[in-house]
Symmetry: C2
Subunit: 352 residues, 2 copies
């Protein structure tokens, strides 16, 4: 394909964008198309960093909002090109989040004089390790590109505002024992058996539900992995349980670590990585106006998303996009056409 | 080295044999030396199958006994050549079981007219997968080579008779759940958490102690491995606990499987492999005579050994050798000189 036609309706544009494969690390072709299309729009100025494209209006409005979406997808599952059936677009990336990108591109091209200045961000490598994340790279290289009073991240939310995001912490719980031949097991000390108590505490732990700005964040503390064993005839001397704690954005990373250590008191808990959540910030005037425009009850975002990066930059941010998060990353991924049209219509109304 | 000097005292011969590396699969050089040395002994006839060498007297005695030892070792641990200090020979294979092989070679060379006919078996690949085992191969190819009224397997036993051996059974306990994103863990069903109850039952299981012919076999049922987990942000939908049951030789493999299924009732238990034990058979006259000659209280053998192969061929067998089993397979492996001399002296007395 030589160029993107931004005059296409958003559902058709979703199909076109999805059919350009852009698995994380291979976004250049799509980034080139996005950059080229936006450079043709007279009311935008365009910057690029790697495979991230940033376009903005500069109308001197009192407020600036950021509309952002990642252009990469998880690996294909033999689910391209797209197939459209009964008002539903099936294909890799349709919900997460080419449909959101399509809406943002439509707004960028067709709103020459929005009532708020708008910065559109199309970024790479959201679906992989945090250090590769294009939004994080731009935040390091050119934080001024992301400046704004409020940000909308077009993650799949079923066209509902999902405020903030929960934090995430991973830790290894390391059980140690003593090896012996399994034929003389009483000479050893079985580290895998010792993990039983860790699993019992995790299974019986009742996760908190935290109310912030009327949104109820439902936490979770879970084993996401376990591994132990030396050989089929050896009593294992080590077992590692990897736990993942998803915590409400009112908790700091340190507070989250303290919860995990308390639940697993007496065990060797080694925190391997964590990322703070983002408060919903729905009391901010720009956010309140946005929620009013969307016209649906806002919900908490349980998963960690890049709204936390905006939050860290001092920009309140919400998740809002046409996709259904429950089908993201699945071979059967799809996006309904109706919410794509609804999102475009509501955001157009909001931006005047 | 060109040839083995079987006139060397057994401790010196242990050093010589140990210094010829013979990690499982690489026994040919040592097998060649053993075969060549035994072919020079006029009162023996010699056969060979792969790297297993079998030599026998044919004096028409009323009874035939088999004296067997494996010539392979576990991989080196930077522990050759041997080092002799304070009456102790340090080095790979010294205890398991070049010292036993040295004693057997001495008997073969220096007892032209034993009171029982003797078949000496020096075999390969004991330390690896069962299907490679040299004794098993000979049992398939030429079972008559192993015929006898009684067998002594020169496994390390601290110069005590260890009767029979326990059976071993391995099974996978498969826990299944349902995946979900770990940020919405209540949508999933955590298979790793479910393993907690399996580990609890294993940890609280009181293994049986079974008295057979005055020997107390101490059983053990243990997790020897556990594995589960999809990714750091996914509730795992599968977890596998691998258990190893060491059971008294009075139980059949089916009875052993029934015990495991009963302890883990309600779980999906998949038996992956098992091997029966061997009854001690100490009431057999040849065994009783042997025990009397050794002059120490016989003990049960907890680990599985090739006495089970003799047992399956209808040949009662015991373990008896100069090595210390607790240092086998260790970098610090060693064998004391005193029990080597004792073993040779007692077996010489027994065979007249």
């Amino acid at each position: 394909m030589d160029s993107l036609d931004l005059s296409l309706p958003a559902p058709e544009l979703t199909v076109v964008l999805s059919d350009v494969e852009s698995v994380s690390g291979s976004e250049t072709a799509l980034a080139d198309l996005v950059e080229s299309a936006l450079r043709d729009v007279p009311h935008l100025s365009v910057d690029r960093d790697g495979d991230t494209v940033v376009a903005r209006t500069s109308l001197g409005r009192a407020e600036r909002v950021v509309v952002a979406g990642h252009i990469d997808t998880v690996p294909l599952g033999d689910n391209l090109p797209c197939r459209v059936e009964h008002g539903r677009i099936h294909g890799c990336g349709t919900t997460d989040m080419k449909s959101g990108v399509a809406v943002a591109l439509r707004l960028a091209a067709h709103l020459p004089a929005p009532n708020r200045d708008v910065t559109y961000v199309f970024y790479d490598n959201e679906e992989v390790e945090a250090e590769k994340n294009g939004l994080g790279r731009v935040a390091r290289n050119s934080p001024d590109w992301l400046a704004g009073d409020f940000a909308v991240l077009m993650e799949p939310t079923n066209a509902t505002v999902e405020g903030g995001c929960q934090g995430t912490l991973r830790a290894d719980v390391v059980l140690r024992g003593h090896r012996s031949h399994s034929a003389r097991s009483w000479m050893g000390d079985n580290a895998v058996h010792a993990a039983g108590e860790v699993l019992r505490r995790l299974a019986s732990y009742e996760a908190e539900q935290v109310d912030i700005d009327g949104l109820v964040y439902r936490e979770g503390l879970n084993a996401v992995g376990i591994s132990g064993g030396v050989a089929g005839n050896v009593i294992p001397d080590e077992c590692v349980v990897t736990v993942n704690y998803r915590f409400a954005p009112s908790k700091s990373e340190d507070e989250a670590a303290a919860v995990v250590r308390q639940v697993l008191d007496g065990f060797d808990v080694q925190v391997s990585d964590s990322a703070p959540g983002a408060l919903p910030g729905l009391s901010h005037p720009a956010a309140a106006a946005f929620v009013a425009m969307v016209g649906r009850e806002p919900q908490p975002k349980f998963g960690w998303t890049d709204v936390a990066r905006f939050s860290a930059l001092g920009v309140p941010a919400v998740n809002y996009g046409p996709g259904d998060p429950s089908v993201a990353h699945q071979r059967e991924e799809y996006c309904d056409i109706a919410p794509i049209l609804e999102c475009e219509q509501r955001m157009t109304a909001w931006l005047g």
